[in-house]
Symmetry: C2
Subunit: 120 residues, 2 copies
């Protein structure tokens, strides 16, 4: 099984005011994914800022030079984690990163911000 | 000089109606960049759809597993090509893809759609 990376922006405020004693939505999304347990072949990475602030929470899926990379946004740390994990597993199962449309979670169909072609 | 890739979405309509006899804005952006001549270390690549249709014309800058990748949008094929080339040259001159803020063209400061961290 190939190795792919799910990268979550942990500094994302998702358009909400910053509360001093509460973790930011991006950090909650990251920690929720870590707690849920990752599918085989998927590793989780935290990053500060994906420059998609107007569309947070946001994450990327990358999988080496032979795969398309994807950026998704408008994600909800309370409700979207099961579908994020399902989509990451489907991405990991491909060779080129292109999951058949019918197999993509609705959040990935509707909340794609951009994709980048393979670099090789 | 490292090799970086400027990838332009050539199917982009930039929100305009499709005219049967006119090249699409994305194709005009690609061809205009090719005609203008590329900076050293920059190669140009055409792609069909970067999934950033609501923010077209769009392009990406990538440069191997050690660099951040960037997606830019809302680009004008008539006016933005000189600044795109300046920004691509500045990106090519970095090791990690992070151009100092003051050296970025205004279109890259203001029209960033997303960025993806290095994959290595």
């Amino acid at each position: 099984m190939a190795e792919i990376t799910l990268t979550v922006c942990t500094t994302c405020r998702a358009g909400l005011p910053d509360l001093p004693d509460a973790p930011r939505p991006g950090a909650r999304l990251h920690d929720g994914i870590a707690r849920a347990g990752l599918p085989e072949g998927v590793r989780l990475r935290a990053v500060e800022c994906l420059s998609a602030c107007s569309r947070g929470c946001s994450l990327t899926l990358t999988g080496g030079p032979g795969r398309w990379s994807y950026v998704y946004g408008d994600l909800d740390p309370e409700t979207d984690i099961p579908e994020i994990l399902r989509g990451a597993a489907a991405y990991a199962a491909t060779r080129d990163g292109i999951v058949p449309w019918r197999d993509r979670p609705t959040i990935f169909r509707k909340q794609s911000i951009a994709r980048i072609p393979p670099q090789e």
